[in-house]
Amino acid sequence: MLELLLFPPVLRGFLSLLIAGFCLPVTGIFILRLNLLNLRFMLMHGVMLAGAIALSASLDPLLCAVGINLVLVLLITAMSRRSSIPTGGLTTFFMVICVGVAMLLIYKNRVPVQDTMNLLWGSIFALTQRDFYFLLFFCIVILLFIIFKYRQVAAVLIDPETAGTAGVNEPLLFYMIMILTGISIAFAMRLVGALLLDALVLLPAMTAVSFSRSMKSMFITAMVSGLIFSLGGFFLALKADLPVSSGVILVAGVCFGIIYLIRTVYEKNN
């Protein structure tokens, strides 16, 4: 089975999955703590729009997804901070717009249905060398951000208002968190697809929240869980001849279920 890793696309996909599995759960914690679940859903639709644009105009799908998500998070963050419109309403509005424009582009440009469906599944083996380096660079940015800005990020995640009064540049940090979240969703869509990106981003974070008692241990647990889910999912997929994204979600789902059960039993007995 390991000889498959001698093929460059397989090795590249494998390494990409491990790197993403280790780093993207950091943004999963941002999503959970700042209650950005609606936003993440809207960003998934943003990636679908990006895919439709890329297929229609023969552009790079990953760059399009990163660009569209960047525009969307900046727009929504600026609008929600400067007006009294609820973020939920804004995300729903942009989500509908994204799907509508995507459908229009697909219909008008006669994009083949199969190509459109590929947007929903993603594929780690379809990553180009450039995609790989781009992902690597982005993951290094996430790691540097969380290492060098840990105290400020933790303060914002605990309470944005008191972080601001403690001298943290809360607006800047919040924008950075939103930008990293937007780009993470774009990468996760490319790797495992729209339907399964939560396995890579959210499930490790949810596992960590159930399992940890401190902020620091939560970040570490999320990253290690993401790595284990990716590694386990990849080899399960090869062994059982499954799509890699399904392998990851199976491992992640089973692990999360076991940890949730352990926590429930522990809480009942204490």
Partner: protein, 219 residues
């Protein structure tokens, strides 16, 4: 600098309603004041305007002689600590020590020095034994003490507390007000506390300010 907080002719309008109407308030160094009034009279809005969390239409707010919107004040914002009513009730893995350390999030202190400051603040508020405990497993009174430890870490000179007594029983309220008094004496901090249960606050010598319909009626 004796005049720590100066609010002049403050007006705030929200959703076609005058929430604050011409507020004038001055607090001196080390002074403690209780701001009371019925629900919806504008107490929290005033506190949030002073904390810089809400903008105002007209009037001015000066803290330690600097306008709240000036770059000079923004650089020294850590001198004001704000404890909100809700204390972030959503469950999330945070220890007591981590919660208190958010007061130092904007500082450039070295790790060892930071730890000493946090432990000293937790000790002063009687929370040092709780430092490794999960914050959301604490009682309401313990959470408020940790919030005070966070403010001490911040080396705040002005402390704004929004209804800190709400979730405490009578004994808890009295213990909390004794702790506040001790902190004020030891650190010379200026305190402005919002409450609607003034009677339970054991705060002899505190200035009483009453608010009604967006105006200060006794000051």
């Amino acid at each position: 600098m004796n005049r720590v907080l100066e609010v002049r002719n403050l007006h705030v309008r929200r959703q076609n309603r005058n929430v604050l109407q011409g507020i004038d308030l001055v607090l001196e160094k080390g002074e403690a004041a209780v701001l009371s009034g019925s629900n919806g009279c504008g107490k929290t809005t005033l506190l949030r305007c002073i904390a810089g969390l809400l903008s105002h239409e007209t009037g001015s707010v000066s803290l330690l002689g600097k306008d709240w919107n000036s770059s000079e004040w923004k650089r020294e914002r850590h001198q004001l600590a704000y404890v909100s009513q809700e204390q972030q009730s959503r469950d999330f893995p945070v220890t007591v020590e981590e919660m208190a350390s958010t007061g130092l999030a904007g500082s450039r202190m070295k790790a060892r020095e930071r730890k000493n400051v946090i432990h000293k603040a937790l000790d002063e508020t009687g929370c040092l034994d709780l430092k490794d405990r999960y914050f959301f497993s604490l009682s309401g009174g313990e959470r408020q003490r940790v919030a005070l430890a966070r403010c001490l870490c911040q080396s705040a000179r002005i402390l704004l507390l929004d209804e800190p007594l709400t979730y405490l029983d009578k004994e808890g309220r009295q213990a909390f007000s004794r702790l506040l008094e001790k902190i004020r004496e030891d650190h010379g901090i200026t305190i402005l506390l919002v409450t609607h249960t003034e009677d339970d606050l054991n705060a002899a010598g505190w200035r009483r300010i009453h608010m009604k319909d967006g105006r200060l009626v006794s000051c």
